[in-house]
Amino acid sequence: MEQYSTIVSGFGGQGVILTGKIIARTGMEEGLEVTWLPSYGPEMRGGTANCTAIISSELIGSPVVNEPSSLIALNKPSLDKFGPSVQKDGVIILNSSLIDDFSVVGSRNAVPIPVNEIAKDLGNQKVINMVALGGWSNVTGKLSLSSLKNGMKLILEESGKEKFVGINEKALEKGYEAAKEGVKASSV
Amino acid sequence: MSEEAIAENTAKMKKVFDSPESLNDQHFSYCPGCHHGVINRLIAEAIDELGIQDTTVGTAPVGCSVFLYKWFDIDVIQPAHGRVSAVATGAKRARPDLTVFAYQGDGDFASIGTNNSTHAANRGENITTFFINNTLYGMTGGEMAPTTLIGQKTTTSPHGRSAKDYGYPIKMSEMLAELDGPTYITRQAVYDPKRIDRAKAAIKKAFRIQMEDEGYSLVEFLSACPINWGMDPAEANDRIKKEVEEVYPLGDIIERG
């Protein structure tokens, strides 16, 4: 696999850091080279948070990417900040529950997913990030749904949060399904 | 008395006072009448009497006692000015089985190293600190210290220390006694045999507290610096009694079981 980079961005508390870690961890389990780089400092405390996950079959040079292959934008400021820098043939998963206007994406492949609503239906607002990640898996095809489930499970288990594995699995699945709808919506 | 009589007499005599084992056969480089020498000897006597020469590590300050490593026959660490409490902390934490003492002067303990000394005390660090308060900086030429008395003339307070410019003499022992960390804090003097005996008892007690893992102990000494005070040694002793003790009263300040 050529180097594939993803920026996950949202406000603090939406689980962007974890989402990026799951991409990196899953990639590692798949035998790929990976890097994960967070934004850090005061902006994380209640402001926007973002991180960059790169997966690659070759040694990764720069862990910083100015033009990511894909973006998961969980709120509007994130889309505005990173949307225009996504590669022209890149993918943007955007949270259509919070974002109406996504004109900044231009001709890029943008997949709107109403992650808040889906998470609400699942009965847990904390899993919006997993809904989006499920969608990302479907659209990018870089890491399979089952691999991501495994990566997520490993990370949650290591941090003693194994009781949330089930709900997060469901969220990944729902997001994966929803992306099919989203893809249809964006191509209309 | 004839020579023979003296010789016979001497044979019946027992040595009652001599240099302690824990001191090397080295001449101190302190000025005549300086109390550092007495305090050094008392610490060495305490080490001998407690049988801890082989397990004690001393830390020396920068200043007049910088040669502590030469005079004491024990392992000694020579840290930076002000850092003695922190260095003693590091050594003790790394090797809790050792008896570690911090030897500190006014500048070291009460000025440039106040942060380090205060926090070591507050943590109840299991070390023993000897704080030599001679109300000025001796080594560098008799400058004002935070411990300098109001009105006292030093080379950097030639018109006398003014409270307006420099505040009041810092009472480190009383200040630290306000904290919950320390176990034993006492202030001693060494200008006469009676007080020397008491000071030595305090040193031994402070060491014992550490050896029993009871926490932080501090012995402050009111110490004479005849040269920088511009006095002869007897006058300097007198000054401690009449002036210094007024500001820094002698005795135990706290003792927690």
Partner: protein, 75 residues
């Protein structure tokens, strides 16, 4: 016969005189000589009056003094 004996290491003594002040028996005095460092050292002028109390040694900042005390018979 004196009850005590005091020895002063001339070379270590810096002539501060604190021992002279501390001695209850007026045993000690400044000598007429100077040691190799140039200090006017202290010497026992009246050794027969020494009671071996050790005060001089205790106050000496230079560990220059050794004190002996006569032991009671049978001890």
């Amino acid at each position: 016969m004196s009850r005590g004996k005091v020895e002063i290491d001339d070379d270590r003594c810096k002539g501060c005189g604190l021992c002279i002040e501390a001695c209850p028996q007026d045993v000690l005095e400044f000598s007429d000589d100077f040691n190799s460092s140039g200090y006017n050292y202290v010497t026992p002028e009246n050794p027969e009056d020494c009671i071996g109390c050790g005060f001089c040694g205790k106050v000496c900042p230079d560990v220059a003094i050794t004190v002996y005390k006569l032991q009671k018979e049978g001890v």
